[in-house]
């Protein structure tokens, strides 16, 4: 079965990957967690406003998948995207500055939490209409295939996107044209407050790969090494010209749908069970127990991450607002 096979892959990765790479997985996950914790704090203090969807709990998906890509590979994301953007290499400074709405932000303060974008990092945007990034990802993959390029496109979306037409149309088109896309579904069991089984006829989401004639696997989205292994395989397949794959990463968001959601539709018991499966704690245990990494090294990473988050907040806070003089400009490239 998919899960068994991927657990094996994960164990294999744990034993064979270089220690520096494993530590990098840990560092990136921790960076995202601390970034999101700080974002919640800044939101509570009124520094960040608007809709803001945090990624805490799901770090293993972004880090596992994006670590399996090359820098030139594309990532397309959703409105819960801070994690994907940071994992793709964005500086916490420019992401935090964007959340603060500052001109130094990654989208110059025009986008906000849901619309981060950096073509140099090949982070091709956060899309705030559920499923709407999938056709865009499919088209990016078409451009790769058209140019006979080596890149793949990694498209993240939630379980909430499954009932959208955009999901089915995109998988269909990517399949018939054999486009180099890895579709990664972050199944956190809730589309806002609606449970997946109340929204999707087939709650084993990876099985939607079957009608679209592509490989589909379900992996433990709390295990960065499982996600990494499955994405490596799917990306290699895409790069070979064998077409798209669907990965369902089973995960959990530790906070509500957005900052305004206390998640009262979930039981405390359920939340506790998933907290115990915290992907960062899991990686910490493995590094210490299986790879004999010294606790002091992990503490050092923790310290560095904390510093970079403090630096990001300082940068965002001290950055200027976008100038009012520019209002109305920049709607068109050719004015």
């Amino acid at each position: 079965m998919a899960l068994e096979r991927d657990m094996h892959t994960a164990q294999h990765a744990l034993l064979t990957l270089q220690e520096t790479q494993l530590l990098e997985f840990y560092r990136r996950m921790l960076l995202i967690r601390r970034f999101e914790d700080k974002t919640a704090e800044m939101y509570a203090r009124g520094k960040i406003t608007g809709f803001c969807h945090l990624y805490a709990g799901e770090e293993a998906v972004a880090v596992g998948a994006i670590s399996a890509l090359y820098d030139k590979d594309y990532v397309v994301s959703t409105y819960r995207e801070h994690g994907h953007c940071l994992a793709k290499g964005a500086s916490p400074r420019v992401v935090m500055a964007e959340l603060f709405g500052k001109v130094t932000g990654i989208s110059r303060g025009h986008g906000g939490s849901m619309h981060l974008f950096d073509p140099d990092l090949r982070f091709m945007g956060g899309y705030a209409i559920v499923g709407a990034g999938l056709p865009v990802a499919t088209g990016l993959a078409l451009s790769v295939q058209y140019n006979e390029g080596p890149e793949v496109v990694c498209a993240f979306f939630g379980d909430g996107a499954l009932p959208q037409g955009a999901f089915h149309e995109s998988l269909n088109l990517a399949s018939i044209w054999k486009l180099p896309v890895v579709f990664i579904c972050e199944n956190n069991f809730y589309g806002m407050g609606t449970m997946v089984q109340n929204a999707v006829s087939q709650e084993e989401l990876y099985k939607f790969a079957v009608p679209y004639k592509m490989p589909g696997v379900r992996v433990d989205g709390m295990d960065v090494l499982e996600v990494y292994g499955a994405t490596m395989e799917a990306a290699a397949r895409a790069r070979e010209g064998d077409g798209p794959s669907l990965i369902e990463a089973v995960t959990y968001r530790f906070r509500g749908h957005s900052m305004s959601d206390p998640a009262e539709y979930r039981s405390k018991r359920e939340e506790r069970i998933w907290q115990e499966r915290d992907p960062i704690k899991l990686m910490h245990r493995r590094l210490v127990a299986d790879r004999h990494v010294a606790e002091t090294r992990l503490e050092e990473i923790e310290r560095q991450v904390a510093e970079s988050i403090e630096d990001a907040v300082r940068f965002a806070d001290e950055s200027p607002e976008p100038p009012l003089d520019d209002l109305g400009k920049g709607v068109y490239i050719e004015e």
Partner: protein, 324 residues
């Protein structure tokens, strides 16, 4: 200059741009083996192959969305929607993505995408296949809205659309595909956006039109001439950008204006055009601006009813006689 049809002019533009730039490709329903539902892409597949003339499944949302992605990836997609009516399924990608990405992503995203679509009534195709929806796109910042009336403009504007940087909604009228006209030869016949065309000069009343209504306006001008009214006919060519300067200049001369368009009267492009003329040239107007548009009703199938819903030469003449 060769005399060719509007359809042939579009086909020529596509061929020339496919020849000029390897990044240009065409995608849409039936554009390849079928040759296009209105035969605009006829013969292109045989010359350019399946890579550059791509038949798609019936998935408008994803045809447009993947056009956006391909444009972001550095290509120059020309997406065909079989008719604008089906384009409503793609409105999310057009309005929420294509139109907004450059601005929303801080100026870093580029979406040089052309979306071509036929529209308009007059063929007894019923309520769901007889619409003129330009106002929907005009309403949304970030889109260029191009709407040619003549074969020469069809070619020149399409070539400009393919070469520029912003997303373009390129609206063709189903009744115009067979219209013939002189079209400049050679691959550098480009018509700039935002430059209206004065098709007939006159001093008594300005008739502002675009797409098929340009021909109604010209027909009305001829009838009005017999009645002693000297009408000026302005073909807008593009609604965004809008050549307000030319409109104002014309209205300053004539003192009266009629806006003729096939969209529904309420909330139509004509309302916006009239409002802009009022704002810019109220002091030059000697009479209220007249709007000649489609009746606010779903299009009926019956021939006589359909004719009565659509704007006509006669209605433009009557409007002119009211104010001139």
């Amino acid at each position: 200059m060769a005399v060719i049809t509007y359809r042939e002019a579009l086909n020529q533009a596509l061929r020339e741009e496919l020849d000029r730039d390897k990044r240009v490709f065409i995608m849409g329903e039936e554009v390849g083996y079928f040759g296009g539902a209105f035969k605009v892409t006829d013969g292109l597949l045989a010359v350019y192959g399946e890579k550059r003339v791509r038949d798609t499944p019936i998935s408008e949302l994803t045809i447009v969305g993947s056009g956006i992605g391909a444009a972001m990836g550095g290509l120059r997609p020309v997406v065909e929607l079989m008719t604008i009516n089906f384009g409503l399924l793609a409105m999310d990608q057009i309005v929420n993505n294509a139109a907004k990405m450059h601005y929303m992503f801080g100026g870093k995203a580029r979406v040089p995408l052309v979306i071509r679509a036929p529209q308009g009534g007059g063929h007894q195709l019923g309520a769901q296949h007889s619409q003129s929806l330009e106002a929907y796109f005009l309403h949304c910042p970030g889109l260029r809205v191009v709407i040619p009336a003549t074969p020469a403009d069809a070619k020149g504007l399409l070539k400009t659309a393919i070469r520029q940087q912003d997303p373009v909604i390129f609206l063709e009228h189903e009744s115009l595909y067979g219209v013939k006209g002189e079209v400049p030869e050679g691959p550098e016949h480009l018509v700039p956006f935002g430059k209206a065309n004065i098709l007939r000069e006159g001093k008594d009343v300005t008739i502002v039109a675009y797409s098929k209504c340009v021909y109604d306006a010209l027909g009305a001008a001829e009838e009005l001439e017999n009645a002693g009214i000297d009408a000026e006919v302005v073909d807008l060519r593009t609604l965004n950008p809008l050549d307000l300067a030319s409109l104002v200049e014309s209205v300053r001369k004539t003192g009266k204006a009629i806006v003729a368009y096939e969209g529904w009267r309420t909330g139509g492009a004509g309302a916006e055009i009239a409002a802009k003329i009022y704002e810019a040239a109220f002091d030059s107007l000697d009479a209220p601006i007249e709007r000649v548009a489609s009746l606010d009703t779903p299009m009926p199938y019956n021939r006589h009813l359909e004719r009565a819903v659509l704007p006509s030469v006669g209605e433009i003449v009557k409007a002119a006689e009211r104010i001139a």
